[in-house]
Amino acid sequence: MIQLKNIDKYYDAKFQRTFVLKGVNLDIDQGEFVSIMGPSGAGKSTLLNIIGFLDEPNEGEYLFLDQPANQLKEKQKVQYHRSHIGFIFQAFHLIEEMNVYENIETPLVYRGVKGKERKAMVAEMLDRFNIVAKKDLFPSQLSGGQQQLVAIARAIVGSPKLLLADEPTGNLHSEQGQMIMELLKKLNDEGMTIIQVTHSEENAKYGNRIVRLKDGYLKEDE
């Protein structure tokens, strides 16, 4: 599903080039649950951003569903965001100006799903995550765990093929974190490909493969 070949990502300062990623090669198949690990500054988030079309590599080739990413037009990237990729973040990144219901509904709106259908899909998510009672609340009125639940609901409401999670439990206490990880595991069991960035060995074990990054190099692939 995902093929990264010799990916370089760097920033040019006046006299020196700082590499964030250097010669990264990585293949990920459909249905995998991959955990990317590594110390701060290793380039984990950058790698995730490149996979999610939020950033572009300076060198190397990235194939998504056998399509070279650098040839994708802006429109196609938007299309992938709409139908293929879901995101979750450490900081949840819910839209502050929208309540729970509207937050979950947003990707469906962009996808052009009809009103009635949308209602049904959002209702199903609310039901599944047990947050029906919270649907009119705004993000600031929710606990961290609840916010992350909403964020996941929003990420998967359109049944994406790929879920990208950037430290999904980083801002949560362990109990809530565990709950979120269980949820991701379940989604993976249902067939969703998941790539997560994490610091926690424990959380990494929920997945079936661990990739380690250090100073921009891919160190280990278990």
Partner: protein
């Protein structure tokens, strides 16, 4: 859905959004009113169907009043034959002013502001809507009159005036009473006409042979002005010139629509405006537009951080670029909608004010223009308000996350340029306002009798009143409240155009071929020099009586006249024999021969725009003393007015008691400048207000963005004063740069503007300093509030906030 988010986001920053709304609303209101005013100015006389073909005919001749250009034509009796002789001239009309200022009906006198005796062709040339009567026939007969609606109402109330007879009373200008029969009623001439008669009437008999008349020709559509000018010159040469080879009369044809803004002739029907006023206002409107839009754009850039997260997440969720555009579009629409509402609310009182002060209903009948203006303004602010935001949003959005909210205004080049530019305009505007106000004050201060502030004028009184001037003076001077009484040919602010040939002991003409040279004359009462505090350079004032005997005539000349007579030391010209020659046969008027008894410093009877002309003052009894001036003792205005009214009522019961303060008369002379000064101060205030509000908003955003930095600096030992300096340094730099840009531009513009005046104030350096300091002061005052709040905040709080 986007709209909902937009609205919620707008509510989150009510103050900043209010700043945007007020800024745009104020500017739009200003622009609408300026534009409508300019439209009014630029469409003068275009309501006549033949406007493009109507030309005003004038001539100049170096031998006649030294080539002064009068708006009227002298002895226009020949116009009729001339028009017949020239096939290019389709039609003509002559307008002779009805003088004396009064009409009599049913034994009562009614004041008329302006009226004409005209040819029966009046309505073939000019368009006026007839309410009663037929345009084609209404002026067919001699002594037929068409009155305007408002004049009819003043005299006859609601009655139908047709068939009534109005009398033009005899007096100085008319040998006997003349009766006119009202044949029709027309609508008042619109505000954008260069004349507004109370009535037009055909004369009893052809009276156009002598005197003056404004003369208009309708030219054939297929001819050119040059053709007709040549045609008229030829006609004059062949028919009117005694000496055709040496004719130096020049023919001028001016399009009627050019009169209001581009005519600066003598004896115009009404005081005209000036194309410079149009430029000044157009530039002001343009500046207002630029400032408001740049301010709006700047605040948008600053605030784009607030919606950055929303936009970033939306991108993740699959929104396209068009959705971002849509977001800012809706935001813009909301702000503009509110600004429009504000404009509507603001326009009502502004329009009421304009109607009250300038008798101009700018909003009436201009709905298409207003809609177009609003649309254009909305489009411009939408596009230019969004562009820089979209640019910075698109470049920052892909880097993702919260970091994009730091679209740092203080490092954003566009913002910096916009602020500098706003302040440059503001500083230039402040300088402009100071210079124009100073010049207007200077002009008013130096005008005759303004500084004493106690002189009243009875302008152009009726001949029978003029005859009793001596009695009036004697009566008035018996009252304790009255200081002095005098009379003169021209009113304060008027034009002293009359010139008589003269002879002087020892004077050698520069041009020996000419029999006599002429010099400007000014008949007045003996106390003229004392009432206006004229400064004597040499010699004495008139003796206290108005009658001079042959050989003992008294002449006072001004400094310009002394130089004209080739003297530089005033003492030397005193006592020289002098004689004015008045040569209208049969008038019976002679001016006694006499001596020059005094030289006075030049005084400004007319506008300071013009150079003071050589002028010879001489006393006359019961002749040419058209305007009375009365000065009262300081602080006794009320008593003086009561006393004057009493005396007037006893002497002239049938004439209205109408006087004017000399200050007010000079203010009328500088009406255009005063209007400019007032309008520009309003616009400067608006511009400064918009700039300050914008800067205030930006300061808020900048300090918010730098909260963490400030916190860290404080934790590391920075003092409040150091933080303040750090924050305010940028603003000072911006204003300083703006000052450097504004000064030369303003200096250049004002230097040009002052060229309007023969006598002017200097462009002192302090004006520029004041403007700069003012702008800097306002800017610092605006931002310091924010800076101080940010600087004095507990750093722990600041860091937690981040």
């Amino acid at each position: 859905m986007v709209l909902k988010v937009v609205l919620r986001n707008l509510q989150k920053h009510p103050f900043l959004n209010l700043v945007k709304i007020i800024g745009l609303g104020l500017a739009l209101t200003g622009i609408i009113f300026i534009a409508l005013f300019l439209k009014n100015e630029l469409t003068y006389d275009s309501f006549h169907q033949k406007s493009a073909q109507i030309y005003r005919y004038t001539t100049t001749d170096p031998d006649f009043f030294s080539g002064k250009h009068f708006a009227r034509v002298i002895n226009p009796g020949y116009i009729h034959e001339m028009s017949d002789a020239l096939p290019e001239v389709e039609e003509f009309v002559r307008l002779r002013p009805v003088r004396g200022g009064l009409m009599k009906y049913d034994e009562r006198y009614y004041k008329i502001a302006q009226a004409f005796e005209c040819d029966s062709t009046f309505f073939n040339v000019f368009d006026a809507k007839m309410l009663i009567g037929n345009k084609e026939t209404v002026l067919e007969n001699p002594a037929s009159m068409v009155v305007t609606q408002s004049f009819a109402q003043k005299v006859f109330g609601e009655r139908n005036p047709v068939g009534e007879v109005l009398t033009l009373p005899s007096g100085q200008y008319y040998g006997e009473d003349q009766d006119f029969t009202i044949a029709g009623v027309m609508e008042d001439f619109p505000a954008n006409s260069h004349f507004h008669p109370d009535f037009v009437a055909t004369p009893l008999a052809n009276q156009f042979a002598y005197g003056w008349a404004w003369t208009y020709l309708v030219l054939n559509e297929n001819t050119t002005v040059e053709n007709v000018t040549v045609g008229i010159s030829d006609y004059l040469k062949n028919n009117r010139e005694a000496n055709p080879e040496e004719m130096d009369t020049e023919v001028h044809l001016q399009r009627i629509s050019d009169i209001h803004l581009n005519s600066h002739k003598l004896r115009e029907i009404e005081e005209n405006s000036n194309i410079r006023n149009v430029y000044v206002l157009a530039i002001a409107a343009f500046i207002l537009l630029l400032i408001s839009i740049s301010n709006y754009a700047n605040l948008n850039i600053g605030m784009s951080g607030f919606s950055a997260k929303y936009l970033f997440i939306n991108k993740l969720l699959g929104s396209s670029k068009s959705a971002v555009v849509k977001y800012f579009f809706f935001e813009g629409i909301c702000i503009l909608g509110a600004a429009l509402l504000f404009t509507v609310l603001l326009s009502v009182p502004v329009n009421t004010g304009v109607i009250r002060f300038y008798k101009l209903n700018l909003l009436a009948g201009n709905s298409t223009t207003i809609v177009l203006l609003v649309l254009a303004f909305s489009l411009l602010s939408l596009v230019f308000g969004m562009l820089p935001v979209l640019k910075s949003v698109f470049s920052s959005i892909r880097l993702g996350g919260n970091r994009s909210s730091a679209v740092a205004v203080h490092r954003n080049g566009v913002s910096r340029v916009l602020i500098v530019f706003q302040y440059a305009f503001s500083i230039a505007l402040i300088i402009t306002v100071i210079v124009i106000s100073r010049q207007t004050n200077y002009a008013l201060k130096h005008s005759m009798g303004v500084e004493q502030d106690n002189v009243l004028c009875f302008e152009s009184v009726h001949a029978s009143i003029q005859q009793k001037f001596g009695v009036l003076k004697e009566e008035l001077l018996q009252y304790n409240s009255i200081e002095s009484v005098s009379a003169m040919l021209e009113p304060p602010g008027g034009e002293a155009n009359d010139m008589f040939p003269f002879e002087m002991e020892g004077y050698e003409s520069e041009n020996p071929e000419q029999n006599f040279e002429s010099i400007g004359v000014f008949p007045c009462d003996y106390s003229f020099a004392s009432i206006f505090n004229l400064q004597f350079l040499a010699g004495n004032n008139f003796t206290e009586n108005n009658k001079d005997n042959e050989g003992l005539g008294e002449y006072i000349i001004n400094k310009a006249a002394m130089e004209r007579l080739h003297y530089s030391n005033p003492d030397e010209i005193i006592g020289k024999d002098f004689k004015l020659i008045f040569s209208t046969p049969g008038s019976g008027i002679t001016i006694p021969k006499g001596k020059i008894i005094g030289v006075v410093e030049d005084f400004h009877l007319s506008s300071l725009r013009k150079q003071v002309e050589p002028l010879v003052l001489f006393k006359r009894d019961k002749l040419w003393l058209l305007n009375f001036v009365v000065s009262f003792k300081p602080g006794m205005k009320e008593e003086a007015l009561a006393d004057m009214k009493k005396v007037w009522g006893e002497l002239f019961p049938e004439y209205p008691f109408q006087y004017e303060h000399v200050n007010a008369m000079y203010k009328r002379v500088y009406k255009a400048e005063l209007l400019q000064a007032r309008l520009l101060s309003v616009f400067t205030l608006i511009a400064l207000f918009i700039c300050s509000m914008g800067l205030f908003g930006l300061a808020l955003i900048i300090t918010q963005n730098r909260t963490k930095e400030i916190g860290v600096r404080k934790v590391n030992g920075a003092r409040v004063s150091e933080i303040l300096t750090l924050l305010n340094k940028d603003y000072i730099k911006w204003v300083a740069l703006a000052f450097v840009i504004a000064c030369p531009a303003a200096w250049f513009a004002m230097d040009k503007w002052l060229e309007n005046f023969a006598y002017k104030t200097t462009l002192s350096w302090w004006i520029f300093v004041v403007a700069g300091v003012l702008a800097l002061g306002i800017a610092l005052f605006t931002v310091s509030f924010q800076s101080y709040r940010a600087a004095s905040r507990n750093p722990v709080e600041a860091l937690r906030y981040e």
